[in-house]
Symmetry: C2
Subunit: 249 residues, 2 copies
DNA sequence: CTTTTTCATTTGCATATGCAAATCGAGCTT
DNA sequence: AAGCTCGATTTGCATATGCAAATGAAAAAG
């Protein structure tokens, strides 16, 4: 651990000391300053740097470990954990994976791509100024050659500039974004709608057939990353989640 | 705190002491032995009873407080918390409340009730032996007089025997169960279906119109409590949830 | 060169101690 | 009787200390 890394840990003086330490390290992780795999300074180092007792430092780190942000092992030390790949309900983050888990072969086709200023309707969906630059993609995912889900997505270019140089020929945008961005907030909305004629034709279903519409938006802190609209043919899909009253199981 | 209450706290000798204490108290709460509002013995009492230091007892209780199972206040002491009324996505546990939050007037009508052995289809939905006794209810909820959602529910009588003497005239079964049972596990499934003719007539929508189907089952430990099927007219309803990668926000 | 042993580092757990903050209630004052 | 003060109870936070467990790395043995 270089001194530049440990120096990044600074306290804000608000509230209990152990919680200041916890938040300071959490924020470094969430901001991406310490990406997954980074070594967190050992308790002794933090203890001297922050002028706290080891018990207090330990308390902060133990709590972060319970929250899943870090992984600790005796002697090897503490490293920043990889964000959990999926979480509770609705984490159909990766469509290829979702299809693979059904035992079917995945493929996809990009129907359209347009980069530029967001048209009014898209800007509204993103709660974004109309001057913002976005990449706008429409694509169709297939399972064993049959249409699986229709995706319509905008990506905020200011947040993820690399997107302009990416063709998504290898990896669909959902999976690509998981590798190239860090999200701290997501919002899902689920509703049932009737398929519009164009949508029905693409999905090879009857116009007006019930479909499950999943709309998801994600942010990093306050910055929008992406908004996506996934249209699943009804009946063939259900989303299942298990919960306990005190959290997802 | 009577001696009978503190004597209920027994350790199993497995793993760290603070975690034994944490689990012992958690289990008393989840089993319903200490219902919400019960006073948890003060740290000093537990410390003597369990022959642990106050810091160790504190550690267990502080963690339970973070998990939301207990509420602690200086001087007043510690009490068992009420389970969070709603949690994350899809906790449309109370339909009257859901309607109230939309600013509409709630009412409901019981369409049918039959108690007895579960028919084959219901038993399957419950993953329950066909010999089990269940209460089977069908009801329609209204918002401002308009059909809001169609509910079809079975309740496992062995788990909640009081159900046979309850007419649900005052409180719909979902809300009634929240008061008369404690759940530790729930499963949701969401899908989009077309309304069947009878359903469409009840909900005053067109046959074949897209509907959001929410199926929920709940258990206490391994014992089934209830299974319910909620059919919402599509378009008029969406379910929204906000998440962070490390848990619901 | 490979295997084994030993050592040092790092985290995990438990305890004892001291003080601070909140607040319920009893007793006192007015 | 109403309001106030003060003390006792209970939780919250931080520290110092000691030992145990895991394990990576270096040293020793073969």
């Amino acid at each position: 651990m270089s001194s530049t890394q440990i120096d990044a840990v600074t306290l804000d003086g608000a509230g209990p000391l152990y919680d200041q330490i916890r938040r300071a390290i959490r924020d470094l992780i969430l901001a991406g300053t310490w990406p997954p795999g980074t070594a967190v300074p050992p308790e002794h180092a933090l203890m001297e740097k922050l002028d706290a007792s080891r018990m207090t430092v330990h308390r902060a780190l133990a709590q972060l470990a319970r929250e899943g942000l870090i992984t600790r092992r005796r002697r090897s030390g503490t490293i920043v954990a990889s964000p959990p790949a999926s979480h509770a309900m609705l984490d159909i983050l990766s469509i290829p994976q979702e299809v693979g888990e059904l035992g079917q072969a995945y493929s996809c086709r990009i129907l359209q791509r347009r980069d530029g200023k967001a048209p009014r309707e898209l800007a509204a969906r993103f709660e974004l100024g109309r001057s913002a630059n976005v990449a706008h993609l429409t694509l169709l995912h297939f399972a064993d050659g049959a249409p699986h889900v229709l995706e319509d997505r905008v990506i905020h270019i200011a947040t993820i500039p690399q997107v302009v140089d990416e063709s998504f020929a290898q990896t669909p945008p959902g999976d690509w974004l998981l590798k190239h961005s860090l999200w701290t907030q997501a919002e899902h909305a689920i509703s049932a709608v009737a398929a519009e004629p164009e949508e029905a034709e693409l999905l090879k279903i009857d116009p007006g057939a019930p479909c499950l519409l999943v709309e998801r938006r994600t942010w990093n802190q306050a910055e929008p990353i992406t908004a996506v609209r996934l249209l699943y043919p009804g009946g063939r899909h259900r989303f299942i989640g298990r919960f306990g009253p005190y959290g997802a199981v």
